[in-house]
């Protein structure tokens, strides 16, 4: 991890992003028009809209980029991609930066979308398919037991409505849906993670 220690500026940050961030090799192509910022449904929630993030990467502002919660505002609507005059895969780059920051331990602590994403991924990897019941419960209780009870009570009428409509099954608590070849799927994910970690410098 030492090579990734936080430094506010690093003049090789663009190279680092190109090497380690999904679709990061596109960052140098941004021409700073700002159409992405104006096209984002949560645009006003971004401390630094995508074109700013791109310029900050090129300016070597490593710490400010990787500790920002901006990328975590992405809803994956892909509006920025289809409107970008240079056809940068902006959504993917934002996803890639968020993942990279998280893997380096630099994402803002307690960032709700980061926490939700981790719960979601761990849920789906367990059996190969998402268990919506255990995922919802894990979400409610992510900020502790008392908050969890409050959250669950707040969503009670919606939960009961979904159960009545047979769109939420309390029996899923016993395990629920999953793939048959769970050991194969988990071995595949472990292998993929191992290769990625080696390539991107996450390996211990």
């Amino acid at each position: 991890m030492s090579e990734h220690a936080v430094a506010p500026y690093r003049n090789d940050f663009l190279r680092e992003v190109e090497k380690n961030v999904e679709e990061g090799h596109w960052v140098k192509m941004c021409m700073q028009c700002g159409v992405c910022a104006g096209s984002c449904p949560l645009g006003n929630a971004w401390a630094h809209p995508p074109q700013e993030i791109f310029m900050m990467i090129r300016a070597g502002k490593r710490e400010e980029v990787l500790t920002s919660d901006s990328m975590w505002m992405c809803t994956s609507c892909y509006n920025c991609i289809v409107r970008c005059p240079r056809q940068l895969p902006i959504t993917h780059i934002m996803h890639g930066l968020a993942n990279y920051a998280h893997r380096l331990g630099l994402a803002p602590k307690g960032q709700p979308t980061q926490a939700t994403a981790t719960l979601f991924w761990n849920n789906l990897i367990k059996k190969g398919r998402v268990n919506e019941l255990t995922f919802s419960l894990a979400l409610y209780f992510k900020d502790g037991f008392v908050q969890g009870i409050k959250n669950a009570l707040g969503m009670q009428s919606i939960g009961l409505g979904l159960m009545k409509a047979k769109r939420l099954n309390p029996m899923e608590i016993l395990g629920g849906h999953g793939v048959k070849d769970q050991s194969g799927l988990q071995a595949m994910i472990a292998k993929a993670r191992e290769i990625e970690d080696r390539k991107k410098g996450f390996s211990k």
Binding site: M73, T75, W121, M188, K191, A192, I195
Partner: protein, 298 residues
């Protein structure tokens, strides 16, 4: 019409007891009426959805979708893969594009797949059910089985994001796609102009950033009311869930009186083709689509 057959990727939310189980119910009924056979891909897995990237990273996510392709290629060779979920379809398309254009990622993904005894060949195209309907069958064929046109019902066609961007349906505009409106008209309904047609419902951020997402949902539902719609119709399971489920929350917090049913295109088609309310999965609505139930009873 000629019988069509596909390898079917239903996705997590379509499973029994999951949030879009009524989507699958109606898709099955619709396909029966259209003589389309969909065979479930054995042992398919989750695609990682739109939030999987943050913990899963790149290669594990590629491996997930590649595993689905590999299973389809092994068990249902020669058949195209069809998905009903926007995120499933998008993930499969993205991964196919990455793997078909990068020898490095292809090699690494196959190295991961080998741990599960599988291999990605890249021979299976991925389609959305909407593409099957409008491209493989065509609007004329979709009109033929209509026995109960949905006359007099005004629908706001809510296409949303992931069936529309970044790939979308061939020949459609990203800003104003018209296929959903055309589908509504094909089954006899009226498609009202709707300025939130391609707006984002907040997606997975409905869970993590409820206030930001519910602002989006409020705009979407409000615009449907403003344009005289009685129901919203969508091709996406997360759009459906978010826009229907959170109306009661928004009412509670903001004093609105939203009660707008949110349907899938496949439910409209099932009812128009003479299917029962149960076959169309109308019993799965939190906000009942009373007018459709009445047509089904006729």
């Amino acid at each position: 019409m000629a019988k069509k057959e596909y390898a079917f990727y239903p996705g997590c939310s379509s499973q029994k007891g999951a949030s879009a189980s009524n989507y699958l119910t109606s898709v099955n009924a619709m396909c029966d009426k259209l003589d389309v056979t969909i065979t479930e891909i054995p042992d398919w897995n989750c695609c990682g959805a739109s939030i999987g990237y943050a913990e899963g990273g790149e290669l594990p996510r590629l491996a997930l979708s590649a595993r689905n392709f590999a299973l389809a290629e092994t068990h249902l060779p020669g058949k195209q893969m069809v998905a009903t979920c926007a995120a499933c379809w998008l993930a499969q398309r993205e991964v196919k594009e990455r793997l078909d254009h990068s020898e490095v990622l292809l090699k690494e993904t196959n190295e991961a797949l080998a741990a599960a005894g599988l291999q990605y060949q890249g021979t299976t195209p991925i389609r959305h059910m909407v593409e099957v309907l409008i491209e493989d069958l065509g609007y004329d064929a979709l009109k033929q089985p209509v026995v109960k046109p949905l006359e007099g019902i005004k629908f706001a066609g809510y296409v949303g994001c992931q069936t529309n961007r970044p790939f979308g349906i061939a020949g459609e505009s990203f800003e104003n796609p018209v296929y959903l409106d055309k589908l509504v008209e094909t089954v006899g309904g009226e498609a009202v102009p709707y300025d939130q047609k391609v707006a984002c419902c907040g997606g997975a951020l409905a869970f993590s950033e409820p206030e930001k997402s519910q602002k989006q949902i409020r705009d979407i539902v409000e615009s449907a009311y403003d344009h005289g719609a009685e129901m919203i119709v969508t091709p996406c399971p997360l759009c459906q869930a978010n826009v229907e489920i959170y109306q009661s929350e928004i009412n509670k917090k903001q004093g609105t009186k939203f009660s707008m049913p949110v349907l899938y295109y496949s439910q409209l088609m099932t009812i128009a083709y003479g299917g029962s309310a149960k076959e169309a999965g109308l019993d799965g609505q939190l906000i009942r689509a009373t007018k459709l139930e009445e047509i089904a009873k006729k």
